[in-house]
Symmetry: D3
């Protein structure tokens, strides 16, 4: 194991500065700017009456999500997906992850036949855009549910306990929390964890493209990720005034 310290001087198990700004824009029911260091994502929750066909007449609602990067979000500008007429596999994959994760934060049976559409648009990318998206989307979701309840549209309490997400990884053999782009691109292993308040997992995705990982390393990564998620959930609750 080589001598190693993080570029930005953080401890191995330390998050980047987190900022959650509610009411970032005014048209959607919920609109949040979430920042994990230099990563900035605009997360909105829009409410539409009705549900997709496969949920029709189920009495339940639905929640879906779309993730995208603005073309100028990255260091090298990326072609705009709408102009290419094709959505990249990576975009699809993250959109699906965000949707699955946030469905674990909502009781669809309490939502009535309404659909919540989450949009996570990355304004600036510096690693961890999917985990920031999930973390910010929960806050936007909470605001949108409050709007629905104010309007008297939902009978019950659809909002479940907070969920948050963070990445962990192994760099030169060291387990690190919340990787910026610089670290992410050279990590041996990359693990994304979505956790509910209390410590249960919603989703874990660990990938070892530049190296494999054993049970022990997985355990260490889950430890720092759990710590990170707890801190993020605290930040969510502070932002929501809970």
């Amino acid at each position: 194991m080589t001598d190693f310290s993080r570029l930005d001087g953080r401890a191995f198990d330390e998050l980047r500065p987190v900022r959650i700004t509610r009411g970032f824009t005014s048209n959607p029911a919920g609109s949040v700017l979430v920042e994990f260091g230099n990563t900035r994502v605009m997360c909105t929750a829009s409410v539409e009456e009705g549900v997709p066909r496969f949920k029709k007449d189920s009495g339940e609602g639905w929640l879906t999500a779309e993730y995208a990067m603005l073309p100028s979000a990255t260091h090298e500008r990326m072609p705009r997906e709408s102009m290419k007429g094709k959505v990249k596999g990576r975009t699809h994959e993250i959109s699906r992850l965000v949707g699955r994760s946030l469905r674990a934060a909502v009781d669809l049976s309490q939502l009535g036949e309404n659909t919540i559409q989450l949009d996570c648009d990355v304004l600036q990318a510096d690693g961890g855009t999917r985990t920031a998206s999930i973390t910010g989307a929960y806050v936007a979701l909470a605001d949108a549910v409050a709007v629905l309840k104010d309007r008297g549209v939902v009978p019950g309490e659809p909002l479940l306990k907070p969920i948050a997400a963070v990445s962990a990884g192994i760099i030169d053999g060291h387990v690190c929390l919340d990787l910026p782009y610089e670290e992410d691109s050279r990590a041996e292993v990359d693990l994304n964890v979505v956790m509910q308040e209390g410590g249960n997992f919603v989703e874990i995705q660990g990938t070892g493209e530049h190296g494999l990982f054993g049970r022990e390393q997985l355990g260490e990564m889950l430890d720092v990720a759990a710590k990170g998620c707890e801190e993020l959930i605290a930040a969510q609750k502070a932002a929501l005034g809970w």
Copy 2:
């Protein structure tokens, strides 16, 4: 002519509050948040080496632009163009207008064989998104050209005099400047003017879908638009510290 006053209490020839924030994000060479009242557009200018095929070996550079709305920018969420696999005609039309307009602000022969890509992404829409885009894009362009000159990439001085854009319209017979969505949607006539510092026109587009307009009314709209553009150019120069 009916009795008429503007919802937000502005004078007929008064702009909405204008804010221009440079360095809004840090990856692109130029990145500006421009606000015309509640309309907010992120305008970035990215620089790429090389030029499109039709400019190859011309010794000249190129400038192109893409305009888009985030799906949650509008009151009712709009479907994401990338997911539909199709760009709407309106999006194409405005992208082309922004590109044409900004090419009037740059001397391509002084740019070397480099391409400047402008991206105007509407975060929040309340009328005038295309004119705000053009106005903000000039500032992003100026910053990007400065970066190019610092890097020693451009031999000459590619940046020309400022251009800005504003809308004018006729509502219940009254000529009004800088229409928000509420006014725009019920205007009889809608005129978008792109002007260079000094008063010459780069582009004018007048449309009378809900009513026609005569030479005299055109003249009045051009008068207020010229006044608006001058004020916007002053705001651009203040933002740039010129």
Copy 3:
């Protein structure tokens, strides 16, 4: 100002020879071949029962337009848009212009819940294809409305006063009317004017990609365009036997 005369010997404010042939094909309700010099456009008006969703149960009709170039219409053959699976921005832009313009020639509230679909297909292109399209489409529209009235489908009188369109431009400092491709490609300024009989404007679009223009020049271009539109309206009325 350099010495200048037009390639085809026309006066500066003179139209190219105009021909309007009704009944060019027999399937659509209205079918017109319009020729501005060597520019030839087939303009058809088809009638469909029913209206798009956003007009449903409004009691009103709708009118929409599509413009396209045959691949062999231009000097250099252009790729077929259907084969590329993408419609170019320019095509979208002109389709939208034609639709907006012709909606100013029809009273939708008198049309019943019917849709008129205009198709402007350029068989041969030599500049001014969008203005020829608008001019020809009015005649096709008039024929289609007559068919509707014959069939007793429309209760009222949906057809409004004639509209026509023409281009003007500035070449080497000279204001010229109705530019063929040769002139158009080197014009400093290009103005397209859609005018109703009587002189009111439906739409004006002025672009100065190779040079700017002042109020005075705009005035001169509007003067020649107005003269051109009046002559085109006379040709439309002659063709219609009015």
Copy 4:
């Protein structure tokens, strides 16, 4: 076999009136309007330097074709393929047939590394659009080859003997030549024949969607089709002044 006479009074083995107009438009190297009764197709032949990748450095040329219908060509307007972003299977199938057929009329080894692009755009459809396209395309091809030879671009003689195409069918048990839409839509069997001058076949396609056919009926259809093709080839040669 029921009593049967053709709607337009033609004999069973009689072609509709055929008209071939050369020089229909002026930009392509060859441009022909071909009419089989009310079916009208604009056939053009454009020449491009170079060949597709699979022919590169072969010393040979290439010929390809695209067939399309204008949306207003049919009785009921059809959606524009470019707007749907998809080309229909029928369109693909006919484009491929036209290309294959006309490649039998050209000696690619005598063409140099040039590509001839044929476009067959149906202005008005009344049955037999694919056979009219092939018949007209040969004349456009002949004109284009003459242009190439005038320019001194082709070393040898790429044009081979004329080919023409016609449909035959069985209606109520009667073999008929050159079916208009009305007949085609109720024919039991439909046969398209592409023939070279002299009587050899380039392509035959017989389909019995509403009924099968035996060897004897096939023979009768081939007889009338051969007669029709001979007459069409005579018309081609007359049009070409051969």
Copy 5:
């Protein structure tokens, strides 16, 4: 005529070994693996309630087909059509041929308002994939109709007499039956014949891209094809236990 014998030692009018395996997969109502030598196609028939819009309330059913090649079916891997977002003309053409052909094997009026969807997916390609597809699809169709009858969904007897398909061609002047890829790619003429039991034709398609063909050669090719189809129909019946 040069001295010629077939690579695999077959007689000129001899089929490759034919194998038809029913129940190849278990989810579709009918599932057949058909092999013509090394050509292997999985043919399935799926049943869906309801019919396409143009058949609604007709009391009749519908049958449609899709043909495709797996990307690794050919010697050189071909790009996957779904990833390119475009279906090739050849694929469309064959899908349409299979659908038309099999509609001749079913009495739609006896099917009720049900749709049979045939899928012919080529696992391994060695020439004759379209004829193998048609031949195998009939067996899958027969199995699917039996399922429908068992379920009591169809009132009558929708299945008509067997159809089969085979290719014939001319190689170095010799008429050959059932061409593998090696022979197909150098054949002067290629004929595909779809025949019903008893000898009537459903479809014939003859193409002479590398050479023309006369009436006599056509006759010889039809002779061997008829012999081949008869043998294939015998194999279908054996597989079905008829």
Copy 6:
């Protein structure tokens, strides 16, 4: 915890019967049919000279993968992605997973500038298609690498230790290995594990859409998955004759 036994009578930690058939088709360098119970996937490995642009002149090779379902693979037929012109997010996600996983089984620096393209086409789906794909793809990869070495194309030894993949899940509180569709669709938690011989992880993906999971449950699922992967690797080695 309710009383629970598996439908097919398997023990909780028991795999379905596994079959691996090499040389399933003959055109690709490697071609394998892999069966996990009723799930059947054709996995092929094709070799192409050259590498994608981002690997050019790196001296290294590349490996990529595409996963797809045949439309009739599932109980209800699914629309063909090529016909819709769009690849589903799920398809993209799995293709990416297969590619990432198999890149962990190959040393790209030993491959020369060659690309290995894996295709996993699901012939019949009954749960676990992605894990069967990965498991089968390793065997196809091994065969393809052997072909490359035979041809003398690769200098070194690109093939690394075997990898295999299996699913685990929690059903009514019970941890189960290798879930068929029936179980998968009602599992509370679903975990896919890709493991290298020896026990290190290549990728883990755990999702709790119908319920969350704690550290202990994760541990139990990893235990059975590790056991399953070991058995699969033994089956791979047996198939390869190692």
